[in-house]
Amino acid sequence: MSPQRPVAVTGAGCLCAAGANLAACLEALFAGRRAPAPPSLFSTGHPASYPVFEVPEAFFPAAVPADPELLRTARLAVAASAEALADAGWEIGELRKLRVGVIVGTTVGSAMNNEEFYRDYRGGGRPDLAAIRRFLRSNPAAAVARHFGFDGPLQTVVNACSSATDALGIAAQWLRDDLCDLVLAGGADELCRTTYNGFISLMITDTEAVRPFDRTRRGLNLGEGAGMLVLESDALVQRRPGRARARLVGYGGACDAHHLTAPHPEGAGLRRALEEALAGAGCAPGEIAFVNAHGTGTPDNDRVESRTLAEVLPGVPFLSTKGFTGHTLGAAGGIEAAFTLACLEQGRIPGSVGFAEADPELPVAPVRQITATQGRLALSQSLAFGGNNAVIIFAKGERA
């Protein structure tokens, strides 16, 4: 694959358990703060408690109040989008004159799984259809476009945990194809009982705070949130020079074609996605300043990632930020892209909270402490159910 034309990223926004916006999240990351807790959004009947990373109500901006006709995932996506657009310096009225596309990665946000509705239905009742109407109004990409009044193409990517990383790579492709002037892209996902029970059933969830890459890791903690970026066409960037926080210079994706829920043991798909992203960026592995790894804290994921990073990107420092956010599923790639971009600007990465003891089975380990980084490129990668692997590479922009 030949090098791809870089695409400017002019704005970023995110909210998750780490913070109400990108700046607050970064502050928490560099302070090493995290607060996993038992879920308060729903109750469960498990004998053990599995901590989660919830977004407190106070983190939502006043301009995005709770809406009974909208799923929480859509609300998270709108909130992060509003921050990203403001960061990019756009007035919404100006954007409505442009071809604005929206691509949002999600898992829960596209699932018709309202338990209350279904319980009533199973009981032979005629449950209120409000739950179904809410689902039909809440397709994340459509909900974001409707909120801001955009009329360009929409895509809700449902690639499980690589959804948002894929969404960002696809956004760059749409801009290179001149489908849009600007694309708002990233991911959003809410915590819900269905995924909580589902991940526990797979026995990959920890009853303690998540410990990515640690010898004692036993699984993930679920989280929720959204991370959205603003990507712009070359023509638009030329109209507003100096706005780029970063450039998306590489995107790679490959499927393990191996197992529905487990990664390929040799990291075949991840390796290929990394090589494709590096080729697209036209850079050598040694030029990457740092990697924001997927780092879920499950034994399999972390083993495969560590081995693959040791072989493909030897000596490159890496971290997992899921110790701060939990695994936000379809949102993870968006939140981590925003973190990657911000850390690239700052020239440093936080320590991987939860990682304390190196695992002798893993050839490389993440950074434990705040680490200064060298270079103008950084990489974020996501692995997913279905064997999906997605990798994006950012270069520093003019605002850095």
């Binding site: 694959m1 030949s2 791809q4 009947g45 004998p47 898992t107 596209s110 699932a111 018709m112 799984n113 338990e115 279904y118 239905y121 199973r122 032979g124 009742g125 005629r126 259809l129 179904i132 039909l136 397709n139 459509a142 009329d151 193409p153 929409l154 895509q155 809700t156 990517v157 449902v158 690639n159 499980a160 696809i170 492709q173 749409w174 290179r176 194809d177 489908l179 269905t194 029970n197 589902g198 991940f199 526990i200 059933s201 797979l202 994706g253 490959a254 499927c255 074609a257 191996h258 197992h259 529905l260 829920t261 075949a268 290929r272 996605a273 494709e276 159910f385 279905g386 064997g387 999906n388």
Partner: protein, 357 residues
């Protein structure tokens, strides 16, 4: 745009399995819909629905290998294999093949089966098999695993706009030479819960879609899969996709047509077709052959490819009067291109144009 050459097509739906079954249905007229058992309070209703049978999958995949694979993914697997077979590519390497799947609602039966396991046995006994198969990209994963397709994989869920949206990205993958081919598929299924909702939203069930009776709600739910093997070649065995557009209704300027509308009996969508095509246009619809489903536009693409290949275009269903100033399209297609148009009930459209060669 860079062309998408259609090298193979695989379809299954209420009309049967395979392109020949679709051809027969188009030539002989749509079959009567089947029946979907739907709970309505203490009673059970039989809702007319176009149902698909993925049993012929056994021809391609050992039955044992699919015993834990649900109906939704079986339909996808069968559509995928049929498309490869039609292209003569069943034995080809798939290291550089991408998989793109569009679905309006995903594997709804399995989603509710997972909830059954929680409600019947408790949170601690939730079914891991149902959970992992309920994830939207499970079908794409099963396709990739069975076919050893190690290129990139994408699943899109944009309700009725899923087909056009996913095609936008499939096209770009080929243009950027990320892949040599894309196995593009669309899948949706019906289930008892969807049927229950359908009966509540539309309490007077119809047994026959009348696509152009715009004021009347005549939609009949359908399910199935439509797959296409796409390449970046100049020529396709089934023609080429020459343009894909998706956006708000106000944004489309009318092209010449003729048009194959995915008018599927939902009266809430009809006004948008009129807005998009306000002038004279030759139009028809094939939805009575496969029913109403979010990814119905993919079946239209198959019908359009057959029509451009000489099979003829179905005329509007008998007895229907088209809204002025539209004219009926149908029979042998003289034009070299055909537009496929889908509107949802919220003012979005997806438009895909196919051309011969």
């Amino acid at each position: 745009m860079s062309p998408l050459a259609i090298q193979g097509i695989g379809v299954l739906g209420g009309f049967g399995c395979g392109l020949d079954a679709l051809r027969r249905s188009l030539a002989e007229g749509p079959a009567a819909p089947g029946q979907l058992a739907v709970a309505a309070g203490a009673q059970e209703l039989q809702l007319p629905a176009y149902l698909a049978d993925p049993a012929p999958l056994e021809r391609f995949v050992n039955k044992r290998a699919t015993r834990r694979i649900d109906h939704f993914s079986k339909m996808a697997l069968l559509g995928a294999h049929l498309a490869l077979e039609d292209a003569g590519a069943l034995e080809a390497s798939r290291e550089r093949m991408g998989v793109v799947i569009a679905s309006g609602y995903g594997a709804t039966r399995t989603t509710f089966s997972f909830l059954d396991s929680v409600l019947e046995d408790g949170d601690a006994f939730a079914s891991p098999t149902h959970f992992s198969n309920s994830v939207h990209n499970a079908a794409a994963a099963h396709v990739a695993i069975q076919l050893k397709a190690t290129g990139p994989s994408l699943t899109v869920s944009q309700f009725e706009m899923s087909v056009a949206s996913a095609l936008l990205t499939a096209r770009r993958w080929l243009a950027e030479e990320r892949v040599d081919s894309v196995l593009f598929g669309a899948v949706d299924e019906v289930c008892a819960v969807l049927g229950h909702c359908w009966e509540r939203f539309f309490p007077e069930p119809s047994r026959r879609i009348e696509p152009f009776a715009f004021a009347r709600q005549s939609a009949v739910p359908g399910e199935g899969a439509a797959f296409f093997l796409l390449t970046g070649d100049e020529q396709g065995r089934h023609g080429r996709i020459t343009s894909v557009r998706q956006g708000r209704v106000a944004a489309l300027s009318q092209a010449a047509g003729p048009w194959l509308l995915n008018a599927d009996g939902h009266s809430s969508c009809s006004g948008y077709y009129r807005q998009l095509l306000p002038g004279p246009a030759a139009v028809t619809a094939a939805t009575p052959h496969y029913g109403s489903l979010p990814v119905g536009q993919a079946f239209d693409l198959a019908v359009a490819a057959l029509a451009l290949g000489g099979a003829g275009l179905p005329a509007p269903a008998g007895g229907e009067t088209l809204p002025e100033p539209w004219q009926p399209a149908g029979g042998v297609l003289e034009a070299d291109a055909l537009g496929c148009l889908k509107c949802d009930g919220r003012g979005n459209f997806g438009a895909v144009t196919l051309a011969r060669g």
